[in-house]
């Protein structure tokens, strides 16, 4: 009698074994792929704690590699004022700070020298060169008008503002020309020494190919060069623009972004100064950074980041700051030092290049 059990042919057993091996290989491969994905997934850390996604992380932007910082703080000057508005450097590297209806004068080493009281609250300040026609004069802008003070700090001339919507944010001088940045009308006014309006710079003009300024907040700084060029921050465009004194648009540089070479946020740089060799120093708000750029706008070095300016990482983006926001007006002196006005602590921080 034949055996009732069905014998499986050897060839079929081999086929089944191969199929089993292939299936096991596929399962192992899928497991390995999933393991690698789970271990390398950049978001896996966030998913383990869902509240991480609710927090704003700015460490990458706030912390600056110390190797990239070429300056160090060499002095700190206490300024006995409640509201520090503007800083300027003058002949013999004297330092001037405006605010609280006064201008305080310090020596290059930070020694207090003079205090002159004003009949207005100064918003912006610049000091002319030692040589005529500027002769070390102080040019002060306020909501009440423009005042020119002699090197002896006596008022030489003054005139009211020509437009009631003007919001003065910066003042610059070159020879007989006085330039006043007006955030209210988004233009720079050009005055003569007697207060005569010589023109407006930066008004949108298609024929002259002037693109216009974008000023989303009250930060609009300018600096005038003796070669006949006026350099203005254009914060809404995150750029720096250059004009001739007659208002012809020259060039713009600057790029938006969060990397060190770029300008962060919606409106930066907030302040600008210029070394005698043509290089620019910029100061940013939001994430406070002071940097040096070449004449053509390439990042050359970092003067200070939030840590060097005494701004803790925790306080960056603190909604409570309001009017006490860490924004640093800047000036430079003949020794290529960078002066930063720290309105929160009532001090002037002086930075010098590390040799």
């Amino acid at each position: 009698m034949p055996n009732p059990t069905h014998e499986i042919p050897v060839s079929q057993v081999r086929v089944l074994a191969v199929r089993g091996l292939i299936a096991a290989f596929i399962v192992l491969l899928a497991g390995l792929v999933m393991f690698i994905v789970m271990r390398t997934d950049p978001w896996s850390g966030e998913t383990s704690d869902p509240t991480t996604r609710l927090s704003l992380h700015l460490t990458e932007q706030v912390e600056i590699d110390p190797q990239l910082i070429d300056y160090q703080q060499v002095a700190l000057i206490d300024v006995p004022m409640q509201q520090l508005r503007a800083i300027a450097s003058g002949p013999q590297d004297r330092i001037y700070v405006a605010g609280d209806r006064a201008i305080h004068q310090f020596g290059a080493d930070g020694e207090p020298q003079e205090v002159v009281t004003l009949d207005c609250n100064p918003q912006c300040l610049v000091v002319g060169h030692a040589d005529p026609p500027e002769a070390g004069r102080l040019f002060v802008g306020s909501s009440g008008g423009i005042r020119i003070l002699g090197a002896d700090l006596q008022v030489l001339a003054s005139w009211p503002l020509p437009d009631e919507n003007m919001i003065l944010t910066s003042i610059a001088v070159a020879g007989d020309n006085i330039f006043v940045a007006d955030a209210g009308n988004r233009v720079v006014w050009r005055f003569s020494e007697t207060g005569e309006v010589l023109g407006q710079i930066g008004k949108t003009d298609g024929l002259r190919q002037v693109p216009g300024f974008v000023i989303p907040s009250q930060y609009f700084d300018i600096v005038a060069g003796s070669e006949g060029l006026l350099t203005c921050v254009n914060p809404g465009k995150l750029q720096v623009s250059t004009f001739s004194f007659e208002g012809d648009f020259g060039t713009s540089w600057g790029r938006a972004g969060s990397s060190l070479a770029d300008f962060f946020g919606c409106c930066n740089p907030s302040h600008i100064a210029r070394f005698s060799d043509g290089r620019f120093v910029t100061s940013e708000r939001g994430i406070p950074r002071i940097k040096v750029y070449t004449e053509t706008g390439e990042l050359e070095s970092v003067v200070a980041g939030p840590q060097q300016l005494g701004v803790s990482q925790r306080s960056v983006g603190d909604p409570r700051q309001g009017i006490n926001e860490p924004v640093f007006d800047i000036a430079v002196d003949s020794q290529a030092r960078v002066l930063a006005l720290d309105s929160r602590s009532g001090t002037v921080r002086i930075f010098a290049r590390i040799e």
């Binding site: 509240t51 704003l56 990458e60 974008v214 989303p216 962060f264 409106c267 708000r285 603190d318 909604p319």
Partner: protein, 216 residues
């Protein structure tokens, strides 16, 4: 029958007088307290944006599944910027509304093109309250620039608990109770702006807003 006249004891008379006076005082005090309770001003929870640090506790500590605290926008302080630090993640790749470029974890901010001026585009940023979880991430981002975003308790959602779980956990004690007829707060610069704005006769919307704002 005793016809002798009742002698009034002076001490008893004084004691009776004091008892009556005490009862009258007790009754009057009770009536005063009950009456005062009826007249008491209703109060509601609110947070002070001048003290708020946008710590995300509002999103995680409210007893509601979805927090009653929402972000609000004060347009008069907004720069309508193309690159809004309250909208875009600090490491955005492109300036568009793709989710990976947005800071808000729930995509609760609407970005709407307004106009192009001086070669620059301007956008309006509004909050979708239904999507907002009140984490304050955008408030911190906005504070890097103009600071027009801030958090407020939304009173159409808040249960007005006796002990607010967020208020208990708030690290800056930013929560307190406000009169129910003025249940909202503004940041100090925003309040100053609004007060200036209401002087113009055409700004009825500003007057309506100011009528709801608590001004200490």
């Amino acid at each position: 029958m005793n016809d002798q006249p009742v002698k009034n004891d002076r001490r008893e008379f004084i004691q009776d007088g004091l008892r009556v006076a005490g009862l009258v005082t007790l009754g009057a005090a009770g009536g005063f307290l009950v009456g005062r309770q009826g007249e008491a001003e209703e109060t509601v929870w609110q947070l002070d944006p001048n003290k708020c640090i946008a710590c995300k506790n509002c999103a995680t500590h409210c007893v509601l599944d979805e927090s009653a605290v929402k972000c609000v926008q004060f347009f008069d302080m907004c720069g309508y910027c193309d690159i809004c630090t309250g909208y875009f993640d600090p490491n955005y790749r492109e300036l568009n509304t793709a989710a990976e470029n947005q800071m808000c974890p729930t995509g609760a901010i609407r970005r709407t093109f307004i106009e192009e001026k001086a070669g620059q585009k301007f956008f309006e940023y509004t909050i979708d309250a239904d999507a907002c979880v009140g984490c304050g991430k955008c408030v911190k981002g906005c504070a890097l620039m103009n600071g027009s975003f801030y958090l407020q308790v939304s009173h159409d959602r808040c249960l007005n608990c006796n002990e607010c779980a967020i208020a208990v956990s708030c690290p800056t004690q930013a929560f307190d109770r406000l009169p129910a007829n003025r249940p909202y707060r503004l940041k100090s610069p925003a309040l100053a702006l609004l007060k200036r704005k209401v002087k113009h006769p055409s700004h009825q919307d500003a007057r309506d807003l100011l009528s709801q704002v608590y001004d200490p």
